[in-house]
Amino acid sequence: MTAPTLDRSSTETHRQSLIARLFDRWPVKLGLLIIVILWIIPTLGLLISSFRVPNLVSTSGWWTVFGKLFDTAQWTLENYRNVLSSEGFGNAFLNSLAVTIPATVIPIAIAAFAAYAFSWMDFRGRQWMFVAVVGLLVVPLQMALIPILRLYSSGGFIGDFQFFPDLNLNGTYMAVWLAHTGFGLPLAVYLLRNYIGGLPSSTIESAHIDGASHFTIFWRLVVPLSVPALASFAIFQFLWVWNDFLVALVFLGGTPDVRVLTQALAELNGTRGEAWHLLTAGAFITMVLPLTVFFGLQRYFVRGLTAGSVKG
């Protein structure tokens, strides 16, 4: 009695879902398409403009190229050649690398250890320490610049006690790395604790019972399991440092031999604000490496940053 009914209803839902799927797909695709188009229009304008002949960029809208796509007289690579050679973007690219790579790796290493301790080690004050760290997320970076600048140039004092030596660090890469490490740590600890704290407790506890030390568990078990989260945060920290303008400006200074890409671009924006053809080419050069990194590492996003906290 029940068996045939069940049978019929299940074939019905099956048929329904097939039809539904056919009709379902179109709104889905249409919705996605609209958002995608809205999102790429601004960048598209930049990309097109960077390949146009200088006087055309500033006298007609970039969308007018669609009327005459094959008119070769309007296209040029000259903008890129100019920016890379005479505007010093090549050198700035190297400087950006020198700043970005260590400023990405150091905070991740330190944050991973801290995140492990906050998740799996037992000590008094663990919760409020973590809350305090997360609370530091909101310290506006601009607020910290002046005190740290003084710290670097003349050391730090609490009353008469000198807690930070007088080292004259300004203008070195190290000054920028340390600043980025400090500013990046709260988010790194917050996100990595979310992930590492969400790892199955049975695995970690059984390792303990087998006599593994905290260091072994961290190094052999937690780090390999957390690769997706570490990689995801690495991407964010990389993008953030690479795109940063303010920190580099304050601690590195703006002389041509040390300046990073964003500084080179901002300077171009300031001195040649109407040189749209150079600005667009320069802006696109600053985007190349971040895009490469993102496309190279994006498979880690499948498991993502917060997979540990998903169960909530």
Partner: protein, 384 residues
């Protein structure tokens, strides 16, 4: 479950017994060891880096070499130091070891945070009670300014609008996009990459990108090269100066931030959606639930904690928003925001006291959001 509880009980009981045995003198010893453990890694790493750098500066080595040495010292060095500290802790008396060890792990982060964030924070708090050049104490005068100055009040109003509108749209669009893209058979990664793309653009770059959208030229200064005005003219309208059109110019600036941040929300929410068990969705479908019901009753509750994380990070980054306003309008024509005011008073108007007071207000504004996160953290601990 019960086993676990028993274990934990046993552990805490052992620890309490430990503590009683240790007495007061070794309590001080523990604190001392903890401080040493916390400081060792950053101080040693810092010294090594500084020595290497002085050497490099003097030896006039090439930039490539400097970078290589830095990566070696930064990466290898930090891990080696952590390992060394752990080894050192193992040499301590057994009764002390596990009291000190957590600080080997968590100490370096705390030390660096203290120097780079806590110290500036305290410094700012003190300055906020001082005058223009940090010479005389002025009591609450700067705070009085924050809540009476017209531009300040406008910036507070605008910031409230920013923290409501930007996360709402970023998370909303990001969630919609992640849900829809999840149903694609092919091209999901590609579609997601296109939304994420603006994340790779610096604020400086973004301001150049958006000048091609909002650009306005008064009559007689040539053809419009901003897309919005181009469209308006096609439709037979008159071009507009978008960024000085109060109060809507605030909205146009927010659009830039939404454009930049939606990729972040989308990536994280997409990962969360993929972690919802398939059989749960399948079971709901067999029971005759519509796709909409599945979305609201199954997907949304299962990804709620990710939504909270994303919204928190988003609200915080919006609170600190400064670059977009600074570059696009300079805070003119009614587009002030709190962080922009702070930078202006600190760096442009050279009034340290007011700048600091604004920063403190910004910091206090975040406390309710932190409270929510603490509650979530506790709840998560409880179900583990």
């Amino acid at each position: 479950m019960e086993d676990q509880g028993g274990d934990l009980d046993l552990m805490t009981r052992e620890q309490e017994a430990d503590k009683e045995r240790l007495g007061r003198s070794s309590g001080i010893l523990i604190i001392l060891y903890r401080i040493v453990a916390s400081l060792a890694v950053p101080v040693i790493a810092f010294t090594i880096m500084w020595v290497t750098f002085t050497w490099l500066r003097d030896s006039d080595a090439s930039r490539a070499l400097q970078v290589l040495v830095a990566i070696f010292v930064g990466v290898g060095g930090v891990f080696a130091l952590f390992w060394g500290m752990d080894f050192a802790v193992n040499q301590l008396p057994a009764s002390l070891r596990e009291h000190v060890r957590p600080f080997v792990f968590v100490g370096p982060a705390l030390v660096i945070l203290s120097v780079f964030l806590v110290y500036p924070l305290i410094n700012t708090f003190i300055i906020s009670f001082k005058d223009k050049a940090q010479e005389a104490w002025v009591g609450l005068e700067n705070y009085g300014f924050v809540f009476t100055d017209e531009a300040m009040l406008r910036s507070i109003r605008n910031t409230v609008l920013w923290i409501v509108i930007v996360p709402l749209f970023s998370v909303g669009i990001g969630l919609a996009f992640a849900t829809l893209a999840d149903r694609l058979r092919r091209g999901e990664a590609f579609a997601k990459s296109l939304i994420f793309l603006p994340m790779a653009i610096s604020f400086v770059g973004a301001s150049i990108v958006w000048r091609f959208i909002y650009s306005f030229r008064p009559e007689g200064f040539g053809e419009q090269i901003g897309l919005l005005n181009g469209i308006l003219i096609q439709l037979g309208g008159d071009p507009r100066a978008w960024l000085s059109w109060e109060p809507w110019n605030n909205l146009f600036l927010m659009v830039i931030m939404i454009w930049l941040q939606t990729g972040f929300a989308m990536v994280i929410l997409s990962a969360a959606i993929k972690a919802v068990p398939d059989d749960l969705l399948e079971a709901a479908r067999i029971d005759g639930a519509t796709e909409l019901q599945i979305f609201w009753k199954i997907i949304i509750p299962s990804i709620m904690s990710s939504v909270v994380v994303v919204s928190t990070t988003m609200v915080i980054s919006v609170l600190k928003i400064f670059d977009i306003v600074w570059v696009m309008t300079g805070g003119e024509t009614g587009t002030e925001v709190i962080a922009e005011r702070m930078v202006r008073w600190f760096f442009r108007n050279d009034h340290d006291g007011r700048g600091a007071a604004i920063a403190v207000v910004l910091f206090i504004a975040i406390i309710p959001i932190m409270y929510l996160n603490v509650r979530r953290f506790r709840a998560e601990e409880a179900i583990r």
